[in-house]
């Protein structure tokens, strides 16, 4: 991490996830060969926070950009950092095909059930009944379809080697999250294929709540829709 | 002649594109300027196939032909379409096994050869285009038979070089027809 002030809202968990990634990179001793890809979304300028080389990608295209980088530098460690609008809406094709090609990259996927940067619109991951600025009467399946479970979907792909969902809502889960992120990077370094960690995160600002209740909301509302745990690659020895 | 404009046409699979390329390659070996423009797209598959070939002593302008000095037609639709492209005094070479009419034009030189029948008698239908090329070379002098043979050697993969003597036999049948 760089000595700089982050721009995230109070109670947002992006900062924690950044720190976990940075710690993992340090512990694995790969900072000098890591290249990150920033998304479009609240984390658009997280290239300012990481000490490693960074590329800022177009909305949803980070997996394609990371593919280009990794194919040029196969010995480097390449990760993408993407939100749910970026990865699960506009970038669905790119993430599925990067995973399916078994690109040796790691994706950190932030699921906070909403579009943060553009001020609280419905995301593919928005829960049924959840009020957003574009679902003011709550998400209705007959109008908006259903929450998209990315890990479940990607775990059906042969190229995806490691798929796990974690959460930021308490210390224990944050610790689990770090372990999962570390394993995802190790899977990449071992050349086993595509790895992704979905991180259930809070957005108190756009959820219209305070930071503490936001964490509670993850545990009570999000986890029933997005069960935590490993979907693939649990037993990989890396 | 400084420049020879040729159109090759037939069904897809009759070796139309190959015939055009062979003439172009032979032209290169004689240090001439050449261009080869195929028809492309869906019509390649099973429909009609044609290509425009130019062999010239000077750099070539347009690779696309609105008229031609030579037309080689391997089926009736091709002859129907391209006979009118011939310039007065132009040369029409067609496969009379497959074209069941006489040329309509009187101001051209037309040569019908039952190439598919002869090739079938030789035991290889794939020689029909070569037989017609033999006549084309003989009547136009656009390239020599020797350059044609050298071109074959360049174009064909090594594993097909054993066919060259038969190909040249087919060429000579066409030349002498």
């Amino acid at each position: 991490m760089r000595e700089t002030q982050m721009h995230y809202c109070p109670g947002c968990t992006h900062g924690i996830v950044h720190r976990l990634i940075a710690e993992v990179i340090d512990e694995l001793g790969v900072e000098g060969k890591t290249i990150g890809v920033s998304p479009v979304g609240c984390a658009y300028n997280n290239y300012l926070y990481f000490n490693c080389d960074m590329v800022q990608a177009a909305h949803g295209r980070a997996p394609a950009v990371a593919t280009g980088i990794k194919r040029v530098h196969p010995d480097n460690v390449v990760f993408t950092y993407q939100g749910d609008g970026d990865l699960a809406a506009i970038g669905t094709a790119e993430i599925i095909h990067a995973a399916n090609r078994g690109e040796k990259i790691t994706t950190i996927f932030i699921n906070n059930a909403i579009y943060g940067m553009t001020s609280g619109q419905m995301a593919p991951t928005t829960l049924i009944g959840q009020v957003t600025t574009t679902s003011p009467f709550g998400r209705k399946p007959e109008l908006h379809g259903y929450p998209l479970n990315v890990c479940e979907m990607l775990s059906t792909l042969k190229g995806a080697a490691y798929v796990e969902r974690v959460s930021m809502h308490d210390i224990k889960n944050i610790r689990n999250a770090k372990n999962a992120i570390k394993k995802a990077f190790k899977v990449q370094i071992a050349g086993l294929g595509f790895s992704i960690v979905e991180v259930l995160s809070s957005c108190p600002t756009n959820w219209g709540t305070d930071p503490v209740n936001a964490l509670k909301w993850i545990g009570e509302k999000m986890i029933p829709q997005y069960p935590l745990g490993n979907f693939k690659g649990k037993d990989l020895e890396v | 002649m400084a420049q020879t404009d040729m159109i090759f046409a037939g069904f897809g699979g009759q070796g139309i594109q190959a015939a055009g390329k062979l003439i172009a390659y032979a032209g290169i070996l004689e240090d001439k300027h050449v261009s080869f423009l195929p028809s492309y797209g869906p019509e390649m598959r099973g429909g009609t196939s044609n290509c425009h070939v130019i062999v010239s002593d000077e750099p070539i302008g347009s690779p696309i032909l609105n008229s031609a000095a030579v037309v080689m037609a391997m089926n009736r639709p091709s002859m129907d379409k391209f006979e009118s492209y011939l310039e007065p005094g132009g040369i029409l070479i067609y496969d009379s096994s497959l074209v069941n009419r006489e040329p309509a034009r009187k101001d051209i030189k037309a040569f019908g050869i039952p190439a598919t029948q002869i090739a079938s008698d030789m035991g290889n239908l794939a020689f029909a285009n070569i037989i017609l090329l033999g006549k084309l070379i003989k009547e136009t002098g656009v390239v020599s038979a020797g350059s044609f043979e050298s071109g074959l050697r360049k174009v064909l993969p090594e594993r097909k070089h054993h066919l060259i003597p038969d190909e040249m036999k087919a060429l000579r049948i066409g030349m002498d027809y």
Partner: protein, 351 residues
């Protein structure tokens, strides 16, 4: 120089790219340029390079963005509808100053249109098909030999200026075969790519490739820097062929394959005592306005011939600047202007 080989335009593009040191190609199939992908798919493994058939043109161009960020010589190719899909990443790459080569073997539009030759993407390529104030160098070869030379040059220009460089051909040029003579060794511009993301190796500060500048003052400054670069490119890289123009009765402006048809027209017109000149822009952007200014008062009139409804003609009119009338003849939909109709138009102009 080696021996002359008969090769298809599309294959020459791929071979030229390999010779120019391009080891990364990302594409998506579309007629009439798919042979480029076929050639790379076959050859890249021998060179230890990357060939990816991407899930879309959108993804392919973003892979180019990634590979260019990583410092590689990289290329993508497509045809008109596919080039439209690439515009997003083209604009981003222009802003992030990434060097890459994009090939557009144009087909007729709009929409899915048809697969036959057209020149109706001139506006898209030269005036910016994507959003924002950016330019890319657009090279328009008219023969297979020139295609080879300009593809190699495109990589050099891209690296020299950290810019996108487009090769604009049409279906006819991509599909036709002509003799091509490759050099034994290419002149390859060795660029300093210390800006690329390669991993810091803990020896330098991190490199960032980005196209986002939230602060308006910073973004304007970045835009001014881009504009200064484009000015330099215009100064150094404008290419044009002026043929038979001195004392011409009519000067025709045409590029790519259409310019070849004009060369035939020149010969035929000569027999009628009409002197026709040709100004053939080789760079469509930067547009060779100076060549038109130079000959602006020579002919009775100019005639622009395009396989479009009239796109380049606007730049010709700007360059001629009212000194002579500028006429237009265009065919669309995959139809190709014939020598006969061009000659008739010239006679009509001179009447």
């Amino acid at each position: 120089m080696g021996e002359k080989i008969l090769m298809k335009g599309n294959e020459v593009i791929a071979e030229a790219a390999l010779r120019a040191g391009c080891r990364h190609y990302f594409g998506y199939p579309i007629t009439p340029q798919t042979e480029i992908a076929h050639y790379f798919a076959k050859k890249m493994p021998q060179y230890g390079g990357t060939f990816i058939q991407a899930e879309s043109e959108v993804a392919a161009m973003n892979m180019v963005y990634g590979a260019a960020s990583a410092g590689a010589r990289v290329m993508t190719s497509s045809s008109s509808p596919g080039i439209s899909l690439k515009q997003e990443a083209i604009s981003y790459a222009a802003c992030a100053e990434l060097p890459a080569v994009i090939v557009n073997i144009m087909r007729a539009g709009p929409g899915l249109g048809g697969i036959l030759a057209a020149q109706s993407d001139y506006f898209q390529a030269t005036k910016g098909g994507g959003h924002g104030d950016y330019r890319m160098v657009v090279l328009a070869p008219s023969s297979v030999q020139e295609l080879y030379e300009l593809v190699v040059e495109a990589f050099n220009i891209a690296d020299r200026y950290r810019t996108l460089c487009m090769i604009m051909g049409d279906g006819m040029l991509g599909q036709m075969m002509e003799a091509v003579e490759f050099k034994d060794k290419e002149d390859i511009y060795q660029a300093d790519k210390s800006w690329a993301v390669t991993g810091t190796e803990m020896k330098r500060d991190h490199n960032i490739i980005t196209s986002i500048y939230i602060d308006p003052e910073v973004l304007e400054k970045h835009n001014l820097k881009l504009q200064e670069k484009y000015r330099k490119i215009a100064e150094n890289e404008t290419r044009v062929e002026a043929y038979n123009c001195d004392g011409a009765d009519v000067i025709v402006a045409a590029y790519g394959t259409v310019a070849r048809i004009i060369k035939n027209v020149i010969k035929t017109a000569e027999k009628e005592g009409i002197k026709v000149g040709l100004i053939r822009p080789i760079t469509l952007w930067p547009f060779p306005a100076a060549a038109f200014e130079k000959y602006a008062e020579v002919p009775q009139a100019f005639l622009t011939v395009e396989m479009s409804s009239g796109q380049m003609v606007e730049d010709v009119r700007l360059a001629v600047n009212g000194k002579r009338p500028v006429h237009f003849l265009g065919r669309m939909g995959g139809m190709i202007p014939t020598q006969k109709e061009i000659l008739e138009k010239i006679r009509e102009i001179l009447k």
